[in-house]
Symmetry: C2
Subunit: 236 residues, 2 copies
């Protein structure tokens, strides 16, 4: 099966969670908009294609099946890519964790766009400073403490009893938060030993290491979800 | 199976999507915090219970299985309650739609709390006015137009080929938005004939009608997700 991933070119964004799974599994896939332009996305959003109607990218085409929503794509892909245990309860827990990661990602986005996605960052900078401060001081520690506890509650090395796409997604949020909030993350460093060990362990997986060194891995930038605006970061 | 639902008492909130499914199916369930207080929720959040660790309510206990995240709970419950077609592709589409409903719900919450959940509404009212205006003018029409198209693309009467929990969830967001933004919703009324017909059809289902008339259905209020603050609503 050759999978087709559709996501805006130029940013990691939500699509990166799917890319990491496909890359880690060595799956055969095309990153369609990256290869042939963002216009390839539009017919699906306009309802001109058969199958499920996506509200927004990312969406995946697998044969005739179209699936949108990052967590739903991973729910579908993970058993096929052997990136989740076979036990139903573990799959459900993996999905629950991915949905909590999605909630965190939405809050990260809103640190730089607290008023409207349709406005420039520069037009909502004052509100962004306030929201980012609350995020750094309350929400980011709360989420990361939770995921640290998830690892401790498992074997300390994985979210589940074995490697899964959830570990890849935790790698991605840790990497993104380190990029966006280096000072805020530095302050939390000592409290998150298992998460930091997980990041190192994922980065050393051969296929992930190769992917991160390839041009397929876009750099974090200020068009994506994880943006580094120094005025939104602080040690406190 | 007697299901145990855990969600903060006093508000409909995210828990209401699960309640509507349980009620529509005539399932045997306890709304635990509603019956015995919010303190019943804490041991789960603190990791003092076996099974999946929830980040936040709602979560469901089904025998020894604990499941958090509203959309994951419905993914688990729907086949058991016969609230989703048996075909795998339809179940996946239902889940994708529920996740898009979850995104909308998060945006509704942020209309009154654009800066921080930890602050009072009154302390972020200026930002709330700006965000609510963008929501009414751009986001709410975009989401509702999408769901209207989902109905049209199906049989016009359901999101899927038959009644499902997605229809119940669409009923809930339409009801909530009518409560929170009556002027904004009035302006969109003519554009959403299928969604409005769906609301009427769901409200007439015997178990839903009985539920809505019962004390189990809490009223919308200004502690929940859908809040009516007149200054956040307008016809434009």
């Amino acid at each position: 099966m050759r999978y087709q991933l559709f996501y805006w070119s130029g940013i990691q964004g939500h699509g990166e969670f799917v890319r990491l799974a496909l890359e880690d599994a060595g799956a055969d896939y095309a990153d369609v908009a990256h290869e042939r332009g963002d216009a390839t996305i539009m017919p699906f959003l306009e309802g001109a294609r058969a199958g499920a109607l996506p509200f927004a990218p990312p969406f995946l085409k697998a044969g005739r099946t179209v699936i949108a929503q990052t967590a739903a794509i991973l729910l579908y892909l993970a058993p096929r890519l052997k990136l989740v245990p076979a036990v139903a309860a573990a799959r459900l827990y993996a999905h629950q964790l991915q949905l909590t990661i999605a909630d965190l990602v939405a809050e990260v986005h809103d640190t730089h766009h607290p008023i409207a996605s349709s406005l420039y960052y520069e037009d909502q900078r004052a509100a962004a400073r306030q929201r980012a401060k609350d995020f750094r001081q309350h929400r980011m520690p709360k989420y990361l403490d939770y995921f640290e506890n998830v690892l401790v509650r498992s074997d300390g090395r994985h979210a589940l009893s074995a490697h899964s796409y959830v570990d890849l997604s935790l790698f991605q949020i840790m990497s993104g938060l380190e990029y966006a909030f280096p000072l805020g993350m530095h302050r939390l460093h000592r409290k998150l030993p298992h998460l930091h060990a997980l990041v190192a362990q994922i980065a050393e997986r051969p296929r992930i290491a190769a992917y991160l060194a390839s041009p397929r891995r876009l750099a974090f930038n200020e068009d994506g979800i994880f943006r580094h605006y120094p005025e939104l970061d602080a040690a406190r």
